[in-house]
Subunit: 135 residues, 2 copies
């Protein structure tokens, strides 16, 4: 799937490439509400194989999956496969990662809860061994 | 479009018919997070011609449009046409309504901000004259 097809698949604007050491590949980010608003809502688009590092949110986070196929994994738990329509409620301070499947783009809305509690804490990358063991 | 086609169009689950005197037609509601959670997220599906009455939210509301065509109107302002990918930030205490176009289903996520401030205040219906004047 090329970028034009990804844009056609997406409901919300894809935005710009987001350069971050907390992702192992290319990710696009569009804030749908301002980053400093009461409810910052981000549209995040992962290229196939791209995922973020383990991290946690001081106020928790909500993921609403709108396209493609990907995963969410909480520390110590099996990864959960995600498809459009899936919702993930991530409790405060739970170490986790999310990202695309190896062979598929992945798009979700990410909503930070209680952003006034402070920024996310970023930890180690998801190892290739862990990721490649996923179905 | 029949209900099977609407379900195919929708990304998030449609849920059940929602019986409410605050809508002039048939609407389907699915809570994607619990109604009493920190961030209640509803998936709302309006049949063509269906809209809610004028109302306001004490903490404001965010609409994320995922399907079809509809409108948002704030009191004293022209109605805004909405399509998938559109986002509406409704400030606290602003009198408004939202709903479907005459000839099209309409689906949006609705997120209540600061739900702890209390429930919405429901007011008069949108008159047929107001609604039918929309393009």
């Amino acid at each position: 799937m090329n970028m034009d097809e990804v844009k056609k698949m997406a409901i919300f604007p894809i935005g710009d490439k987001f350069d971050s050491e907390n992702f192992n590949g290319t990710v696009w980010l569009k804030m749908l509400t301002p980053f400093d608003s009461a409810l910052p809502v981000a549209n995040v688009t992962f290229e196939p194989g791209c995922r973020n590092s383990w991290h946690k949110h001081q106020g928790g986070q909500l993921l609403l999956v709108t396209g493609g196929r990907g995963y969410y994994q909480a520390w110590g738990e099996p990864a959960r496969e995600l498809r459009p329509g899936d919702v993930v409620e991530i409790p405060a301070d739970v170490k986790h990662w999310h990202g695309a499947a190896r062979d598929c783009w992945f798009v979700h809305l990410a909503i930070e809860l209680f952003p006034e509690k402070g920024p996310a804490t970023w930890l180690e990358p998801v190892s290739d061994d862990e990721y490649n063991a996923l179905k």
